[in-house]
Symmetry: C2
Amino acid sequence: MSQNDEHDPTKERLLDQAEALFAQKGYDAVSVREITTAARCNLAAVNYHFGSKENLYVEVFRARWAPRAMRVQESFRDSLAAQDEASPTTVARALAEAFLIGPLSDEERYRHHQLIVRELGQPTEAFKLVADEVMRPFFRQLADMLRPTLPKGLDKEGLMLNILSMFAIVLHFNFARAAVTRMTGREYDEAFKARLVEHITEFSLNGLGGHQQEVPR
Amino acid sequence: MSQNDEHDPTKERLLDQAEALFAQKGYDAVSVREITTAARCNLAAVNYHFGSKENLYVEVFRARWAPRAMRVQESFRDSLAAQDEASPTTVARALAEAFLIGPLSDEERYRHHQLIVRELGQPTEAFKLVADEVMRPFFRQLADMLRPTLPKGLDKEGLMLNILSMFAIVLHFNFARAAVTRMTGREYDEAFKARLVEHITEFSLNGLGGHQQEVPR
DNA sequence: GTCTATAGCAGGATAGAC
DNA sequence: GTCTATCCTGCTATAGAC
């Protein structure tokens, strides 16, 4: 915590296991004992390295969650850069791809979205970091990309609402897997994820309206 | 629990306070002591009336959450019935109105969405009830309404994905108030909720595409 | 930096008086 | 049906040996 922040193996293991458990069960349902056991270290290690359980939670966001969010954003920008222009179509598709397929493993994606959705509904100390250093800059980029291509009548707030809605869908299909599987009967295999990317792209562009035409790639 | 299920005042107060607290903090962060104190009754009352804390949680969904979901669905059907036909436009608008304005007080809406989103992300015993008795029948109704009006090329699964996406947006704007307020700078007053209904209707119909034209009422 | 041991308190649940 | 008293387990955090 004090000087050599990275590469203390115990600290790293604690962050890994804490993230997995906080994501899976939520902050209150996880005990420090559970974390230290999973990290194969001593009970006192959390307090030694992070000061408190709460601090460890915030540190999970700083040291694990936020960097991973950056990887997703980079993946998004990369697949956009491969396109000729940033049309709403390419932006919507790149967004869906980055968040549903993207650079993360299934396990990482699961953790990532469980953690953020919990923060969205019930913000804690970690939310400042999430909002100010991750969401706001990314939404600003998206707004800058989309603004020139969308109708003039759309004000700044309307643009933000559009972005939030696209996000809502992407988050939901990652977060509510259990419910989606239950309602569609489909597991989250590669085929279904590809199907979801198609759907999200299409819905983000045309809503219920435009299911006739193909979405250009 | 055994015979006269309703109208035991203590039991009712327990359900009310338990719901409020579970919604606000999540199951694990709430203690039985906290609930019984808020309900102005004895610590032992939870175990007497519900057998256990976990059972009380499930009972909150059965006796409070599900009936309220039914009220929202009725409100949706009522505002649709006032329309000439169930076009995608009227369906989308009625959905947004039912969930964002609808028959619920702000407090009820808050509880309702906190509880369901928690279940969506991390299903418990209560999820069976939510999925089988509330979500699935409602989605089926929506599908029946929308099917005749949408393009023929849309298969059953595509229709379900569209419905899930509309839901994702509606849930998100109720659940992630804190984040939405942070990103837009707007409080959830009547004006903003009306704005959100417009946005959701428009986005559900046309996505990013159709912001030029007005949405007919 | 990692360990053991333990303080100190809060949790769910129950027994039994009323 | 409601209460008090209490059991027992588990929790976070810390002190101090190594």
